[in-house]
Symmetry: C2
Subunit: 336 residues, 2 copies
């Protein structure tokens, strides 16, 4: 490819090839009147030189990009393993698409990413943002607040005054743990994950609620990530510490799938020896053997509701920050 | 939130609050000389009104967005199930991040998405693009070619003259099928998927190569997607048609995982009764039981190499379109 082929074509190029003035080209581009002959010549020239209108210039005038960011703040490992994130993203993509908005997904894995994403948001490339997995004191959260971008969070980061959609993690964790206890288990532990986020601490709180007086902190193993690998490691450590364990609440389905693997390695039968329940009802839940009893988290619905909130704000809805809680029924299968 | 809080602040607001002229504000923003007192007043005013510079305007001048699109053209179901896509994306994200470029991921699921993504690319929001899963006559491919955007494809779409990175799907499929035949299987079938893409047709061609005279088209089942569900359905149909089947090459690990489920449902032992091999060495491969013998596709490496190609083009590399082939060793585990 020659250097000249790479340079972006301009209105000048179109005018030169079409043999008309730049003003005539502009009129065509802006829908004004020109003769049919001139229009045809200009359209041919546009194709010939590969011209595309400069939207950056148009955005200066209309101040809208028709794009909404979807920002995921997760380590790469979790992004790959957690089908929820993909499902939330696709829910957002579909809702934005129906409103003819473009979703642009930005993945934040490192501090460097954080700074660059904040800079990108600063740049006026998007009209709003859906934000997943924000932490307290997150630089992205700070940047969004400073920009006054229309925004909706999936999950409810502490100390953030903005629209959000989420689930009642605490209530759902309490419900699924209670159901596990009702199967007659007496030594029930938990693999708690992601305690740097509200979802992680709320699921642990719900477990604690359900156990009441029977809560034994020795039976709680904490891991950093909602991941298969962390679930497998934690299950092995729990079994070493409490060989008589007969029930486990895993903080996510991916964690539960890893725990199932560790239980099988240790020769424990599920659900006969140990009953296990997860959280999410993601694709993991139906691909383990036995299939997981779990909490149904409406991931696509969360993404769609967050997008709807941003779109409403863009259309001038000034009703202000609020939270939307979606339902999370317990789904009972074969793992407990 | 009040309407005034939602309006984006301008240089006028900053100038008014700081008590200086707009010209003075511009000088600060552009790094020119102003007195310390004025600079302080302006910086305070910027914080007070939440002003951010209009990058759309700056882009008009410097013609660079410092963003590169990552375009995935896959049905939502495949995006969720195929860990390769996530891994390719994260490889691209990391390589771009190291060069201080922002990756923006666009998901194309429908014709409507296609048109909107083409419009977005037209808009000058990105400096280049990495494109995954392009089909022949893809509108995105057409848009990118017309724009003369620096671009690299993952995979090699037919009739496209642009940089690409990929694997030798045909050779790798031949290798893994040959290895399967060497375990002594005599009735070997294939679940072929995604025959609307080069990867799909090439894997089928490699299977055909390996079988040679023993190739029996009755033992090939074709499905649309590289998905678990399509693998499960195809395996059930293959077994109904050829109950004596003793080997299967599944076109991807997700397909193989679905096939494993169907084999178990049908009471077949793996690898004793039926040996099965996959393709990808994705996270599926080590989470099935037994773990999959498969082809190692370097997904993150593909994403990183595609990003490197786009970055080289952006830095003026005019060496022109070419292809890069990454290695794909066979990984032998327990499923065959």
């Amino acid at each position: 490819m020659t250097p000249s082929a790479r340079r972006r074509s301009t209105v000048h190029d179109v005018a030169r090839v079409a043999g008309v003035s730049r003003g005539t080209v502009s009129r065509v581009l802006n829908g004004g009147y020109v003769s049919d002959a001139a229009r045809e010549a200009i359209e041919d020239a546009i194709r010939a030189v590969g011209y595309v209108p400069n939207t950056a210039a148009r955005n200066l005038v209309r101040q809208r990009t028709q794009a909404v960011a979807f920002i995921v703040h997760e380590p790469h490992a979790v992004f790959l393993e957690d089908p929820n994130i993909g499902a939330i993203m696709l829910g957002t993509n579909q809702a934005l698409s129906e409103a003819d908005y473009q979703m642009v997904c930005l993945v934040v894995d490192s501090v460097r990413d954080t700074e660059r994403v904040a800079r990108y948001l600063n740049g006026g490339f998007v009209d709003g943002a859906v934000i997943v997995s924000a932490r307290a004191q997150d630089p992205i959260t700070t940047a969004v607040a400073r920009l006054r971008l229309p925004v909706a969070y999936v999950g409810h980061p502490p100390d953030v005054d903005a629209a959000w959609v989420g689930v009642d993690n605490r209530g759902a964790a309490r419900d699924v743990t209670t159901r596990l206890l009702q199967t007659g288990r007496t030594r029930v532990g938990m693999i708690a994950a992601a305690l740097d986020r509200d979802s992680g601490t709320d699921r642990l709180a719900g477990f604690t609620d359900a156990l009441g007086d029977r809560f034994d902190s020795d039976l709680v193993e904490e891991v950093p990530l909602y991941s298969y690998a962390d679930g497998a490691g934690a299950m092995a450590r729990l079994l070493a510490r409490a060989p008589d364990l007969d029930g486990v609440f895993a903080a996510s389905d991916a964690v539960a799938a890893g725990a199932l693997w560790a239980l099988r390695e240790a020769g424990r039968r599920v659900p006969e020896d140990v009953g296990i329940v997860g959280f999410d009802n993601s694709s993991w839940a139906t691909r383990t053997s036995p299939q997981l009893s779990t909490v149904d988290q409406p991931a696509e619905g969360l993404g769609a509701a967050a997008a709807a909130s941003v779109l409403a704000q863009l259309q001038g809805d000034e009703s202000g920050p609020d939270g939307i809680i979606l339902d999370t029924p317990v789904v009972w299968r074969d793992s407990a």
